[in-house]
């Protein structure tokens, strides 16, 4: 006996624990299979780009903290690089090393959070997340030592960083770098071969390399599809050309590959941090730049490899104290554009996992 079925449209979010913020998915189901998905966002729009136009160049740094709030250091770095390019300022070498150290620490912190919530969505409820938050807490402690805040750092300044590393930072950092690889091994032992996880993630939500490139996907999601593109390699900003590190690449481009790429990237970050802590020179941490910067007329684009992908700032100056235009190219927003292609044909439970594996941050999507 055959039943007559009709597609049903369901709204996910904006208040839904699986959507990692205020994100809404308008999904059309045929039974349990997704036939259409429309992402709806903008609930967290704060107008950061417009607000930047009425603040001085130094004050905009505090706005960038609020884009990707789990990886604020990368946002600070990208903005500060753009303004430095605009003014032609060269930060001292020690400042560049400190910036790289901060950017890599925040990459570990962001990946820990991304992985933790992905596993949370998969049903490994809270246990791996709590383990990962334990290490994230240690990184937050390091940041508190250095800049006095745990989330909204506002640490980088145009022409360097706000302050030098405090003496207590070095032993804490050494201990962290010694412990961290062991903890990453532990996360792998915890879930890498877990049969339930394999069944849920292997060959689920495959992102083809050509589709990823056409959709301008960047970051671990792109490398999970096997495309060797990393701005630290492709366009070495700061001093990234001095470090040795590998690019972890996925083979299939499924959720499992993106999970593994993030795990491996944390290892590579620890490797970079080890080299940076060895090489870090003595010297000033801040070029002599006034608090009120007035760049010449022109525009500049600077991009960094943020934990979520390519984060770019396009700053236009009209020789006043505030940027004429400040465009933010946020990785999470552009990574979201391929979500529809990835979830079509999968079931409801898979959609949550695929969305989690993209590791988007709504603060950055809506800006």
């Amino acid at each position: 006996m055959a039943f007559r079925t009709e597609p049903i449209t369901v709204n996910f979010g904006p208040q839904h624990p699986s959507t990692h913020g205020v994100f809404r998915m308008r999904v059309t189901f045929d039974g349990e299979v997704i036939v259409d998905m429309e992402p709806v966002f903008g609930y967290l729009h704060r107008g950061s780009e417009k607000l930047a136009e009425e603040r001085t160049y130094t004050q905009v740094i505090t706005l960038t903290d609020r884009l990707d709030y789990v990886a604020s250091m990368s946002n600070n770095l990208a903005y500060v690089l753009a303004v430095e390019k605009l003014c032609g300022i060269n930060p001292p070498e020690r400042a560049q090393y400190i910036r790289v150290i901060m950017a890599e620490l925040v990459r570990i912190a962001s990946h820990l959070m991304g992985l933790g919530f992905l596993l949370n969505d998969l049903g490994a409820f809270a246990t791996p997340l709590m383990y990962m938050f334990r290490e994230r807490e240690k990184i937050m402690d390091l940041f508190e030592m250095v800049c006095g805040a745990r989330i909204t750092f506002s640490y980088m300044r145009i022409g360097g960083v706000a302050e030098d590393l405090p003496p207590e930072f070095y032993p804490a950092m050494t201990r962290f770098l010694k412990e961290m690889p062991g903890y990453i091994d532990e996360y792998e032992a915890l879930l890498r071969e877990n049969e339930i996880l394999l069944a849920r993630t292997k060959n689920v939500g495959i992102l083809q390399p050509d589709k990823a490139i056409n959709g301008s996907v960047s970051g671990p999601n792109l490398r999970g599809s096997g495309v060797p593109w990393d701005l630290r390699r492709a366009d070495p900003y700061e001093i990234y050309d001095r470090f040795e590190f590998d690019l972890p690449l996925g083979k299939v481009g499924d959720t499992y590959d993106r999970f593994l790429v993030r795990l491996e990237e944390m290892r590579q970050s620890v490797r970079i941090l080890n080299q940076a802590m060895e090489q870090i020179p003595k010297g000033p941490v801040r070029a002599s730049v006034p608090m009120l910067v007035r760049p010449p007329i022109g525009d500049a684009y600077a991009h960094v490899e943020a934990p979520k992908g390519e984060l770019g700032f396009y700053v236009v100056s009209d020789n006043s104290i505030a940027p004429y235009r400040c465009k933010i190219r946020s990785p999470s927003f552009i990574n979201l554009t391929v979500l529809r292609d990835m979830v079509l044909g999968w079931k409801l439970a898979d959609m949550i996992v695929i969305f989690g594996s993209l590791d988007v941050n709504m603060g950055e999507v809506d800006r």
């Binding site: 030592m145 805040a149 706000a162 030098d164 071969e193 049969e195 608090m291």
Partner: protein, 184 residues
């Protein structure tokens, strides 16, 4: 064989049974705050402040309100008395730009972190509160305070809180506080 991966994961979890607890029981146990922590309760030294309002200009949100009136002999140059120094910490994001900008080392970040309030009005620090408050400045942008340890009732005098004159002006000596030029 099915289940080996799960067993491996369980081993990790079992290991955690014998580890030291990482979390603390907050109201009874407290973590230490690092010296650079940008906390609440701004520390303000009245005798150093010239009322130049540089902090107010550098605040990204414009939440510092300063009103001054000139005192003294106009021939020798005015001193400015600060009548109003309102910091609306309900909107403050503790970025520390005001402290960084202060040219006379009169404003410091605080080290406290418990200032919840039932009303918004109580979250505006006014000049009287700033005068009366315990002076436990944070080492943010003031590296000479990195080693200072605070007890419950410590309150640093302006001399003890130190200055960064040496760091900012090459001369070493404190320049005489100049009355800011009034724009008429």
């Amino acid at each position: 064989m099915y289940g080996i991966g799960i067993a491996k994961g369980m081993l990790v979890t079992i290991k955690h049974l014998f580890r030291r607890t990482f979390t603390v029981q907050y109201p009874e146990e407290r973590l230490k705050v690092y010296p650079r922590y940008r906390g609440q309760e701004f520390v303000w030294y009245e005798e150093r402040c010239t009322g130049c309002a540089t902090c107010a200009k550098y605040c990204p949100l414009g939440i510092i309100k300063i009103v001054t009136h000139p005192v003294g002999n106009p021939a020798e140059g005015f001193d400015y008395y600060v009548d109003v120094f309102d910091i609306e910490i309900a909107r403050c994001m503790f970025c520390g730009l005001c402290v960084e900008a202060c040219p006379y080392d009169a404003l410091f970040m605080g080290t406290h972190y418990e200032m919840a309030s039932y009303t918004r009005q109580k979250l505006v620090i006014n000049v009287d509160q700033l005068k009366k408050a315990k002076k436990q400045p944070s080492a943010f942008m003031r590296p000479h305070l990195l080693d200072v340890k605070y007890e419950e009732d410590t309150s640093l005098t302006p001399e003890r809180a130190g200055r960064m004159w040496q760091g900012r002006w090459a001369g070493g000596e404190k320049p005489a506080p100049q009355a800011p030029k009034t724009e008429e």
